[in-house]
Amino acid sequence: MNKTVNQKAWFLVLPVLILVAFSAVIPLMTVVNYSVQDTFGNNQFFWAGLTWFEDMLHSDRMWNALGRQLMFSAIILAIEVPLGIFVALNMPKKGFWSSFCLVVMSLPLLIPWNVVGTIWQIFGRVDIGLLGYTMDALGFDYNYTQDTFDAWVTVIAMDVWHWTSLVALLAYAGLRSIPDAYYQAAKIDQASRWAVFRYIELPKMAGVLMIAILLRFMDSFMIYTEPFVLTGGGPGNATTFLSIDLVKMALGQFDLGPAAAFSLMYFLVIMVISWVFYTVMTTLDKRDGK
């Protein structure tokens, strides 16, 4: 629609601005503050310039955490996106079973993240968990607290369990917006099932899929609670992803300087990706004529 130019609209936006500024800008300023200062304790700070940033960029710890994080995000995207699409294609379109599927699929999304961690913590234990017990009974030497590979597998399984539904629901919404006429035309043109997917369904889902991929990438990049509850970042720091490492630094060790510098760089990466997200979204909106 044609928007009228009206600077007084700022008044309507003011409450949001104040609230978010309070929640975001002020804390961020303290972070910036810490990132360029050092302390010997006793709340006395002195200017440290960019030392923390340099330290960070040279620290193995940060790069390792980043590496683990990127691998994690890549793996879960590679699993969740195709799986989500696959599930969406097979979801019933209407009737009782459609509601049933929607409700069951939405359930993992509404479980507090620490409970998600707890569920899998229990589930994976060899003594009391179904998964652990079964793996043990099948002869696998499965122990997610001590074995790195098992820990990774469990964390990934947990995330797939937790979030695939989001991708599936978004893809499903995209699919439902396709008018019947397209499927009818494909029948008349004698198109194969694969052709229908490739030329009708996938293009129409592209918009929502883009959003799903970006969202999942961002959220996986910030993941904290679930792996923290499940493995605590271990064994060792095998599953210590970026957020876990940061919190350990900031709230655990109170290493304010490094934590702050870390935070800012973390945030910078997020900003860049947000910008990509925003651009993709507005381009898609424009293309759809909104």
Partner: protein, 360 residues
């Protein structure tokens, strides 16, 4: 090309239809002659699209059979019926170019590349899109997309029938005329069976050899445009065809005369009719006069629509229309209408009655 036969065909969207009213399509027996161009005409909701979808296989009728050249295809899937159908809204494959769109149905049937290229070129010339063959289909205008849809329907030369479901609805009026001409030409060149659904009588009457008029799920008349105009079999046909439609007068039929209000009208034959009896006369055949014989009428308005004039009259509280030639004078003291000889149709309960003693 195939002869399409409909046998005892009816369709209800309800699982257990009890009476006629539960049916969207009421019983229909018809042979669609191979190679004819039919228009399926009727107002919205009268069952035209249902019928079309049953023929193409997108809908399986709840009762009756569909036969192609004698073979029962009632439950056969669409892909097996070798039908082409064009929908009301453009359906194009956005990610493909125009050329690939047109080639799609042919590729799916495993045709050779050279043959495909030849046909695509020919159809592109017909829909006047040769220049855009390699553009992506996505960014085109609605009528370009609809032309592509039409093209995809036309590209298969050996289809059993071409079905069109109000395909020109989204097209500009000028382009509509052009495309209709193309379709007519297509029919002349190839002789496919074509069934064209529309609610626009001009489209129907100019496109088709035969028009099938539907009303409330029933076929009420099939005939050439001329027949529909002169002898409407149902009051709906009379009302729907012609602009303005046929006038209806409540009348009591008595052999060779009919009484309309206080006036008497001579009929051109002896009729026996029961139930709700009416006379139907087209506006083109109503004559205006002052005094003398005829049914009392008052002139309300005269509308000049360019090539002729429409005279709106009031006859016993009912609005009646008459058509006068462009230069014709409407006498100011007009107070009677008479009917041209041979133009009066008699209807009982909405269906046309033929005079006694005739077999037609």
């Amino acid at each position: 090309m195939a002869k399409i036969t409909l046998e005892n065909l009816a369709h209800s969207y309800l699982p257990n239809p009890k009476s006629e009213d539960d049916f969207a399509l009421k019983e229909l027996n018809h042979d669609w002659v191979d190679g004819e161009a039919y228009a399926l005409l009727g107002s919205s909701g009268c069952g035209k699209s249902t019928l079309l979808n049953i023929i193409s296989g997108l809908l399986i009728p709840s009762q009756g059979r569909v036969l192609f050249d004698g073979k029962d295809v009632t439950t056969a899937p669409t892909a097996d019926r070798n039908i082409a159908q064009v929908f009301q809204f453009p359906v194009v494959y956005d990610t493909m170019s125009v050329r690939q769109n047109l080639a799609f149905p042919l590729k799916n049937r495993g045709m050779e590349a050279a043959e495909i290229a030849r046909r695509v070129q020919k159809v592109a010339a017909m829909i006047d899109m040769e220049a855009q063959l390699d553009h992506k289909a996505r960014g085109l205008t609605a009528d370009a997309k609809q032309k592509i849809s039409l093209g995809r329907g036309m590209v298969r030369e050996d289809v059993n029938a071409l079905l069109f479901d109000e395909p020109l609805t989204v097209i500009d009026p000028h382009m509509k005329w052009e495309l209709r001409t193309q379709l007519k030409k297509l029919h002349q060149d190839f002789g496919h069976t074509m069934i064209y659904v529309t609610h626009d009588q001009t489209e129907a009457l100019t496109f088709a050899d035969k028009v099938v008029v539907m009303y409330d799920g029933r076929v009420v008349q099939i005939g050439t445009p001329q027949e529909l105009f002169e002898c409407p079999a149902h009051t709906f046909v009379g009302y729907f065809i012609g602009s303005p439609g046929m006038n209806l007068f409540d009348a009591q039929i008595d052999g060779t005369t009919a009484r309309v209000g206080d006036a008497t009208v001579q009929l051109d034959g002896a009729y026996t009719a029961h139930g709700k009896t009416q006379l139907g006369v087209r506006p083109e055949f109503i004559r205006l006069s002052a005094g003398g014989e005829g049914i009392p009428a008052t002139v309300r308005r005269v509308e000049d629509v360019g090539r002729h004039k429409i005279v709106r009259l009031d006859v016993a509280g009912r609005e009646i229309n008459a058509v006068a030639a462009e230069g014709e004078e409407i006498p100011a003291d007009t107070d009677r209408i008479t009917f041209a000889p041979g133009s009066v149709n008699v209807y009982a309960d909405d269906w046309r009655v033929t005079p006694r003693g005739t077999d037609a």
